[in-house]
C-alpha cells in the first residue's frame, strides 16, 4: 500500500508541533534536547515524503545529512550537560540562573 504524501506531511507537521511544544514546555535540559531531536525527525520525515512525492533523491540525501549532523549536535549537547553537572548537579533549566538581564 502506498501512503499518500499528504498523510506523511501531516504526520511530520504534527510531530514537529509536538517537538516545539515539548521544547517550550519542558524544564529539563535532556528532555528539551529530546524535543529538538523529535523536531529534526519530523523534518527528516517530511524530506523523505517530499522526495518520494517528487521522485527526486535529493530530499533523502538531505535527510541523511540531517541525521549525521543531529548526532554531532546530540554529542555536543550531552557533553555540555556533563560539564555542567560536574560543577553543579542537576539538569533543570531553573538552575541556570547565574546569567540574567
Amino acid at each position: 500500500m502506498i501512503v499518500p504524501v499528504g498523510a506523511v506531511l501531516g504526520l511530520s507537521a504534527i510531530l514537529f508541533g509536538i517537538g516545539v511544544f515539548g521544547f517550550l514546555a519542558r524544564r529539563n535540559i535532556i528532555l528539551m534536547l529530546v524535543s529538538v531531536e523529535v523536531m529534526l525527525n519530523a523534518v527528516n520525515l517530511s524530506l523523505a515524503g517530499f522526495s518520494r512525492h517528487l521522485d527526486d533523491p535529493r530530499g533523502q540525501i538531505l535527510a541523511l545529512f540531517v541525521i549525521a549532523v543531529a548526532a554531532a549536535e546530540a554529542g555536543i549537547g550531552l557533553g555540555l550537560v556533563i560539564a555542567l553537572n560536574r560543577n553543579r548537579p542537576g539538569a533543570g533549566v531553573a538552575d541556570l540562573t547565574e546569567l540574567k538581564w
Binding site: 517537538g19 549532523v69 549536535e73 555540555l80 547565574e98
Partner: protein, 473 residues
C-alpha cells in the same frame, strides 16, 4: 554525476587552508599546549585564507561541485571579512602569561573550523551546503562558549546557547524542507526559477517556509525575537570568543540571508522584506532600550549587537541588489567596530567586564580611553567614523525602498543609543578613578586594536572605499 575535480577544489582554497591548519593543530595538540605556536599558526592560516580569497575571481564567478558552491564577488567579500575577523580574534586571544588558559590547540582549531563554516555560508548556492556551513559554525561556537569547563557560568552560557541554537536550526531545516517540497529543488537558482514560473499567486506553505528560514537565520545574527542567547553567551564566554561570535556569526548570518533573499526568493521579495522589516524594527527597539539598563560591559555590547543586527537588516528589507550591498558595507564596518570595542574590554582584563571599571580610565591610560571613545562614537554612528557611513547607506536604502517610518525609527533609536555609549565615555573622562592603573596589555592585542581603529577611521573618512567590493549576489 562526475567526481570532484581539481577545479572544484580550487573554489574552496581558503576553506581548505583553514581545515588543513586545523588538522595540523589537532595532530600536534599535545606538543603545543603551552607554547604560542597555535596562535601563530592560526594567524598565518587566517592571513593566507584572506589573501587567497581576496585574489580569487579575476574572471567572473566560478561554480564548483555541480553548482553547490561558488566564488563570486559576494562570497569573496565575506571570505575576506571573515578571514579578517578570525585574524583579529586570534590576536585578541593572546593572554597575559599569568591568566588561566583554555586548551590552546583545541581553542584555535575550533576558531578556524567555525570560520570555515562562516566562509562556506557566504559561498553556498544550495540549501544543503548552507545548512552544513551554518551547523559547522554553530557547533564549534557552542564548544567555544563553554571551553572553560571549570567555570559554571561558561557551562550555563554554552547550554543556553546550545538549546536555543539547536531549536533555531530545527526551524531553519523545516523551512528548507518545505521549500524543497514546494519547488522540487534545493539549489538557489532552481528555487528562483521554480518560483518565478508560478506567477503571482503565493503558496501559503511557501510563506511558512520563508518565515521559518528567516527565523532560523535571524537566530544566527541575534535579531529579536531570536536574540535571547546573545547576552548570556557573550557574558558567559571569555571576551575574545564573545568578540568572535558578535562579529563572525553576524557576518555569516547576513551573508546567508542576503544570498537567499536576493537569489532564491527573488520573486517572493515582498514576503521576505515584510519578515525582515519586522525583525529589524524589533531588534533596533529592544536592543537600544534594554542596553540602557546594563551594568556589565559584555552584556551591553551584546544588546548593542542586537540593535546593530536590526540596522544591518534595514538594507536587506529593500530586497534589491543595492540594499544587499548596503548591508554588506554595514556588516564590514560593524565587524571592526565591535572587535575594537571588545578589544578594549579584553585589554582591561577583569576590570573591563563591568561598567564601573571604566571610571577615570582617561586619566590613567589616555591612549586606551581614546581608542575606546573612537569605537563608541563609531557604534553610535557619529561622523567621521565608519559607523556613520555604515548607518547612512542602510537607512538610505530603507528610504529608497519606501520604508520611511522604519528609517525614522532607526534614526530616533540611534539617538537613544548615543546615551548608552556616551555613558561609558562620561565614566572614562569625567569620573575619578577608583581602581589601580590597569597593567599594559600584550602587543598582539594592541596590534588588533590598531587595525580595527584604522579601518573605523578610514571607513568614515572615505565612505566610498568599499563600494567596488560590496557587490551583491
Amino acid at each position: 554525476m562526475n567526481s570532484a575535480t581539481l577545479s572544484d577544489l580550487s573554489v574552496l582554497v581558503p576553506e581548505l587552508i583553514l581545515v588543513g591548519t586545523v588538522l595540523v593543530l589537532l595532530l600536534l595538540a599535545r606538543r603545543i599546549q603551552t607554547a604560542p605556536v597555535a596562535a601563530v599558526m592560526s594567524l598565518i592560516a587566517a592571513v593566507a585564507a584572506g589573501v587567497t580569497a581576496g585574489m580569487a575571481v579575476v574572471s567572473g564567478p566560478q561554480i564548483g561541485f555541480g553548482g553547490m558552491v561558488t566564488v563570486d564577488g559576494y562570497s569573496r567579500f565575506f571570505k575576506v571579512l571573515i578571514a579578517a575577523t578570525l585574524a583579529l580574534a586570534v590576536l585578541l586571544s593572546v593572554r597575559r602569561s599569568n591568566e588561566e588558559q583554555a586548551p590552546r590547540a583545541e581553542y584555535h582549531a575550533l576558531l578556524l573550523l567555525a570560520s570555515t563554516g562562516m566562509m562556506l555560508a557566504g559561498s553556498a548556492l544550495d540549501l544543503l551546503v548552507l545548512y552544513l556551513a551554518l551547523e559547522l559554525m554553530t557547533l564549534c561556537a557552542y564548544v567555544l562558549v563553554g571551553i572553560h569547563v571549570e567555570r559554571p557560568w561558561a557551562n550555563e552560557a554554552a547550554i543556553k546557547y546550545f538549546l536555543l541554537g539547536s531549536f533555531a536550526s530545527a526551524l531553519l531545516l523545516y523551512g528548507m524542507s518545505l521549500t524543497y517540497g514546494v519547488t522540487g529543488s534545493t539549489g538557489f537558482a532552481d528555487i528562483a526559477a521554480a518560483l518565478f514560473g508560478r506567477g503571482l499567486e503565493t503558496d501559503p506553505i511557501l510563506l511558512v517556509a520563508i518565515g521559518l528560514i528567516a527565523s532560523g537565520l535571524a537566530f544566527k545574527i541575534a535579531a529579536v525575537p531570536f536574540h535571547a542567547w546573545a547576552p548570556d553567551a557573550y557574558q558567559g564566554a571569555s571576551a575574545p570568543v564573545a568578540a568572535f561570535l558578535a562579529a563572525g556569526s553576524k557576518a555569516a548570518g547576513l551573508a546567508a540571508l542576503g544570498r537567499i533573499g536576493v537569489v532564491a526568493f527573488e520573486s517572493e521579495a515582498h514576503a521576505m522584506s515584510a519578515v525582515l522589516a519586522g525583525l529589524a524594527v524589533l531588534s533596533i527597539l529592544l536592543g537600544s532600550i534594554v542596553a540602557l539598563s546594563q551594568t556589565d560591559m559584555k552584556r551591553l555590547l551584546a544588546y548593542s549587537s542586537i540593535a546593530h543586527a536590526g540596522y544591518a537588516l534595514l538594507g536587506l528589507t529593500a530586497g534589491t541588489p543595492d540594499g544587499a550591498s548596503a548591508t554588506m558595507t554595514y556588516a564590514f564596518f560593524y565587524v571592526f567596530m565591535t572587535l575594537g570595542a571588545f578589544g578594549v574590554v579584553i585589554a582591561l582584563g577583569e576590570r573591563g567586564e563591568s561598567l564601573d571599571g571604566y571610571r577615570g580610565l582617561a586619566a590613567q591610560r589616555p591612549g586606551m580611553a581614546l581608542v575606546m571613545l573612537l569605537f563608541l562614537l563609531a557604534l553610535t554612528g557619529i561622523p567621521p567614523t565608519a559607523g556613520f557611513s555604515a548607518k547612512f547607506v542602510v537607512i538610505l536604502s530603507a528610504v529608497r525602498a519606501g520604508y520611511v517610518p522604519l528609517a525614522v525609527l532607526a534614526v530616533v533609536c540611534s539617538v537613544v543609543s548615543a546615551f548608552i555609549y556616551m555613558r561609558v565615555a562620561v565614566l572614562m573622562y569625567m569620573r575619578e578613578p577608583r581602581e589601580a592603573v590597569p597593567p599594559a596589555f600584550p602587543v598582539a592585542v594592541s596590534a588588533a586594536l590598531v587595525v580595527a581603529a584604522l579601518v573605523t577611521v578610514i571607513g568614515g573618512v572615505l565612505p566610498g572605499s568599499l563600494s567596488s567590493w560590496a557587490v551583491s549576489p
